[in-house]
């Protein structure tokens, strides 16, 4: 090797030759700056978060006591805080189920029937809402769900006002108007996370071999049976992969319930309010560990079901 490559002159050239011969060093040299950034800024911050969660807030002075204690974690188990957690997990589960149901036909159509230009169009149609402004999307729903808004108008035009009023009268999920109810919060969550469910389900469905379906039909299965026993099991990893997104994003959202919903807190709002006006960073930190633990359990379960092969 050395015999063929004549040594180049000049500092830069020599440096580049050196790196060409020592690929490992080049990799290390390239990797160092971004790795340092992620480790210091991100992992460092996560460590700070963990550390803060073991600090506590002095109730009288309002100052953070920088001594390690489990007292802050104990506060998480107070009933009002447990309610917040339960409320958030229930919402995340409901949103995930609804998204899976709405996403499946779109993904199925895109994977099996759309071809060529139509397929590209489908892809764009899913990607554009995914990438468009989060806050604008939430705002759009504030317009839709407002008491004087389009849904109330549409219900009146179709003489279905009684139906809307009936739904709003349902205890717990209802409220004075859609924009001040759990139902409203639920709709907005379902909407903004839907593309995150469509894409992995579509990816899983694309991988279902066509001849499996033909074989199933040849062996005498009705379309419904083929769907239940062949397509759905093969799409399941995709659904689980999508559910990781919808579940975790709902679990950690702090904006949607502020804008659309009744004033009861979700985990994200609790974290945001605690660190802000209350100045209780330790409790906010401990609270944010809760979705991490829940997601850890969820991911462990998803891994067992093979969800990561579909990402």
């Amino acid at each position: 090797m050395k015999a063929v490559t004549a040594a180049r002159t000049g500092g830069l050239a020599r440096l580049s030759d050196f790196f060409f011969r020592n690929r490992g060093l080049l990799t290390a040299f390239l990797l160092l700056p971004p790795l340092a950034w992620i480790v210091i800024v991100y992992l460092g911050s996560l460590f700070a978060l963990l550390l803060q969660s073991f600090y506590s807030l002095d109730e009288f002075s309002g100052l953070i006591v920088r001594e390690l204690t489990f007292a802050t974690y104990a506060e998480i188990f107070e009933s009002s805080n447990l309610q917040i957690i339960l409320r958030t997990v229930t919402m995340a589960a409901a949103v995930t189920v609804a998204d899976a149901v709405i996403a499946f036909p779109i993904a199925y159509f895109a994977a099996r029937y759309a071809r060529g230009g139509a397929k590209a169009l489908f892809y764009l149609a899913v990607m554009m809402p995914l990438w468009s402004s989060y806050l604008v999307k939430v705002y759009a729903w504030k317009l839709i769900l407002a008491k004087e808004g389009i849904i109330t108008w549409a219900a009146a035009q179709l003489h279905l006002t009684f139906l809307l009023d009936g739904i709003l009268a349902i205890p717990v999920i209802g409220g004075p108007s859609l924009s001040i109810s759990y139902l409203g919060t639920f709709l907005v969550f379902v909407y903004i996370w839907l593309p995150y469910m469509i894409l992995p389900v579509q990816a899983a469905l694309e991988r279902v071999p066509r001849n499996f379906i033909e074989a199933s039909a040849d062996l005498g299965a009705r379309p419904g049976q083929t769907f239940r026993t062949v397509i759905l099991p093969l799409a399941l990893p995709g659904i689980i992969a999508g559910s990781i997104f919808t579940f975790s994003l709902t679990l950690g959202d702090s904006i949607v319930p502020q804008i659309v919903g009744n004033s009861r807190y979700f985990i994200g709002q609790a974290v945001y309010t605690l660190q802000g006006t209350a100045g209780d960073i330790p409790l906010a930190a401990a609270f944010s560990v809760v979705p991490m633990v829940i997601m850890g359990l969820y991911l462990a379960a998803a891994k067992r079901l093979g969800a990561f092969d579909a990402l």
Partner: protein, 269 residues
């Protein structure tokens, strides 16, 4: 033989799903032209274009957040381009123990919910007694923008052939010349696409920013304030249309740039 067309319930469900995804944004445009500024009355009682003028001339509170958002997005994109490209270049072809965990590490900031990144940074600022500034916002944004550039450039590196680099070196170019004349032209459009996506992501980000901005307002934070305490509602819609434009144009452009990535020279070896 079964026909290849989809059954009508499937067509209907898919179409309804897509409509559900797209119709809400249309309302943002409609309400920018309403004459009603105190409520979200539908249908609007009348139509006017005057809110565009109001937003531009009579609402000086919009400009500082806009400038701050542009500044933050610019710096965050720049940092993300540098770090994301370096990380992608390092991990594209190297094989070593722990590589999978390393690439996971770069994806982590976008995989974990925004409040975790937000409260983590907030905790760190508090421990270090770091006061809020433009840079605390940039710090957070750059961290989750790196992965966007990283993903784009990594995908491009995987599609380009390593033999081009070897050929360049064999023909006497040094590493820097090879980078300048062979590698850079190959990854340029991926860089541009990644950079634009990162810009859009940063310009639009609100959750992490609420934790790292303190009293400062970026444009999304200004919008959040308007949503919680509305005044002149159609003006918010005008700004929303602007935000849609600023985020959409780069995304469409990025899609266009990376669309036919498979046809890059040397990719089909």
């Amino acid at each position: 033989m079964r026909s290849e067309g989809a059954a009508w319930p499937l067509r209907f469900a898919a179409a309804a799903g897509l409509a559900f995804l797209h119709l809400p944004l249309a309302l943002i445009f409609l309400y920018a032209f309403t004459t009603e500024e105190k409520s979200f009355q539908f249908p609007p009682p009348g139509y006017t274009a005057r809110w565009f003028g109001t937003a531009w001339f009579d609402r000086p509170d919009i400009w500082p957040p806009l400038v701050l958002s542009l500044k933050v997005a610019l710096f965050a994109t720049l940092l993300a381009l540098i770090f994301g490209t370096l990380a992608a270049a390092a991990l594209a072809r190297a094989r070593f123990f722990g590589k999978e965990s390393l690439s996971l590490l770069f994806i982590l900031p976008i995989a974990l919910p925004g409040i975790i990144t937000g409260i983590a940074l907030r905790s760190a600022f508090d421990i270090m007694n770091l006061p809020f500034s433009t840079w605390t916002i940039v710090l957070g944004h750059a961290t989750f923008c790196i992965v966007v550039v990283y993903n784009n450039v990594l995908a491009r590196f995987r599609r380009t052939s390593a033999s081009m680099i070897e050929a360049s070196m064999d023909l006497g170019a040094d590493g820097f010349q090879t980078f300048r004349y062979v590698v850079l032209p190959q990854i340029a459009s991926a860089l541009l696409a990644g950079g634009m996506l990162a810009f859009a992501l940063s310009f639009d980000e609100v959750i992490v920013t609420t934790f790292t901005a303190g009293q400062q307002a970026t444009l999304p934070i200004w919008m959040l304030g308007e949503l919680l305490r509305p005044r002149q509602r159609p003006v918010t819609n005008v700004v929303a249309i602007f935000v849609i434009a600023v985020t959409f144009i780069p995304i469409i452009f990025a899609y266009y740039l990376t669309r036919d990535g498979e046809h890059i020279a040397g990719g089909g070896k």
